[in-house]
């Protein structure tokens, strides 16, 4: 007998995503929702959406949620978690949000070992506002605010969030993943799950960086975008586990 083996997870709301065709935000949302379902924490979870394309994320998950001011999701989540220590709290943030304006908040949440989880979506660009340079934008990459290609001399270097965060003592799980193929999707989900488990165990701060596409602002179609990510982003931002103080699960 056939059964729906793969289907939209429960924790995902009915509302259709507002993302552009082929944008990885949707894949990542689904993975988070699957993890919430599997850990059976839907009723206990609070989420903090950022400003960015995923500003509507608080409507896409069937959990209590809010939108933080740009970059401040880790502080908002800290306030929530301290008020409700027995709840699961996660933030979902883009690279402009987390690695530019929100630098101080993410570093200090990590350093405090705040018992929250952050899903960090790195697409090397400001998606929502129309394709401006992010701190993560690759050298040479043209964006609307680096129209001649990013130059280290004037615009600085791509910032490596996971490499920075691994230096904070409060982080207990930190991995960089991608969702560029079904195999990677499976790994990404495992990483997200481990990050949530770290929080559930009260170990400290956990973060999963997901390399992601922005077909619209990269000016590529969804499939080309994945190729570009594989060829360029993975070189600058190598996939891997940076911190794992969780150990084996199950």
């Amino acid at each position: 007998m056939e059964k729906a083996t793969y289907k939209k997870p429960k924790s995902l709301a009915e509302k259709e995503f507002s993302y552009c065709p082929g944008c990885h935000h949707g894949i990542i949302h689904r993975l988070v929702a699957e993890v919430i379902d599997e850990l059976e924490i839907q009723g206990k979870t609070l989420m903090v959406a950022p400003v960015g394309c995923s500003v509507f994320a608080y409507e896409f998950f069937d959990v209590d949620g809010t939108v933080a001011p740009h970059g401040r999701a880790p502080a908002v989540a800290t306030g929530m978690k301290r008020a409700m220590p027995e709840r699961m709290v996660f933030t979902y943030q883009g690279d402009g949000d987390l690695a530019a304006i929100g630098t101080a908040e993410i570093i200090h949440a990590a350093n405090r070992g705040e018992k929250i989880t952050t899903i960090f979506v790195n697409n090397a660009i400001y998606g929502m506002t129309g394709g401006q340079m992010a701190p993560t934008t690759l050298l040479g990459m043209k964006t609307t605010t680096s129209p001649y290609g990013r130059k280290a001399e004037t615009e600085g270097f791509p910032i490596h969030v996971s490499e920075l965060l691994k230096e904070t003592a409060g982080i207990v799980y930190l991995e960089r993943v991608s969702v560029s193929s079904p195999q990677e999707v499976i790994k990404a989900k495992a990483a997200i799950k481990k990050a949530f488990i770290a929080q559930k165990k009260g170990l400290g701060f956990s973060l999963v960086e997901v390399l992601s596409t922005c077909p619209t602002n990269w000016g590529l179609d969804p499939v080309e975008s994945i190729n570009w990510l594989n060829e360029n982003m993975k070189k600058e931002y190598p996939i891997g586990v940076f911190v794992d103080k969780v150990g084996d699960i199950k």
Partner: protein, 179 residues
């Protein structure tokens, strides 16, 4: 009509913004008063998008309107959103290649263009927007074709300049399609 209050609406990538800009710029070359104002939907770039163009013989108070007298409709959500707002006796130009349903309004003029098909015949699906613009111009005469040509020259520069002819061709085909 002495004042054209046009909303051109579709989804991202269909070129509705460009329709508006060409029209407004042409208006300027025709020595009319003219404004263009964009509006993006919640879907950021991939979702719905529309712009409002005013072309008028008098100074323009507001570049925004809740009650356009002209519509260019490039997809179904836009049809649903804007058919409620158009003034009676207004004009609606529909790209039927994408919009395969009818409007509920019976108090307006309607022009249907199978713009994608025409554009494909021209060898470039991207100029479907210009086909629709052509149809609109034929019906309204809002601006001169001369103005439109100058606008295209302003807009398509550098390597894109080679596309000017194709765009004009598309506009002309659009005009022809209105009977």
């Amino acid at each position: 009509m002495s004042e054209h209050l046009l909303v051109a609406a579709g989804f991202g990538g269909q070129g509705v913004m460009l329709i508006g800009q060409i029209l407004a710029t042409a208006g300027m070359f025709d020595n009319k008063h003219t404004t263009w104002l964009p509006s993006y939907g919640p879907e950021m770039r991939g979702g719905t998008a529309n712009c409002t163009v005013v072309v008028s013989d008098e100074p323009i108070a507001s570049p925004i309107t809740n009650t356009p007298n002209e519509l260019i409709i490039m997809n179904i959500p836009s049809l649903i959103k804007f058919e409620k707002e158009i003034q009676s006796d207004g004009l609606m130009v529909i790209n039927t290649s994408v919009v395969d349903r009818d409007t509920i309004r019976d108090d307006i003029s309607i022009i249907k263009v199978d713009a994608n098909a025409i554009a494909e015949k021209l060898g470039n699906l991207k100029v479907a927007n210009m086909v629709v613009l052509g149809a609109y111009l034929k019906k309204t005469g809002a601006v001169t074709l001369e103005g439109v040509k100058r606008a295209l020259e302003k807009k398509l520069t550098g390597s894109k300049a080679t596309l000017i002819d194709l765009n004009i061709k598309a506009i002309e085909e659009g005009m022809k399609s209105v009977t």
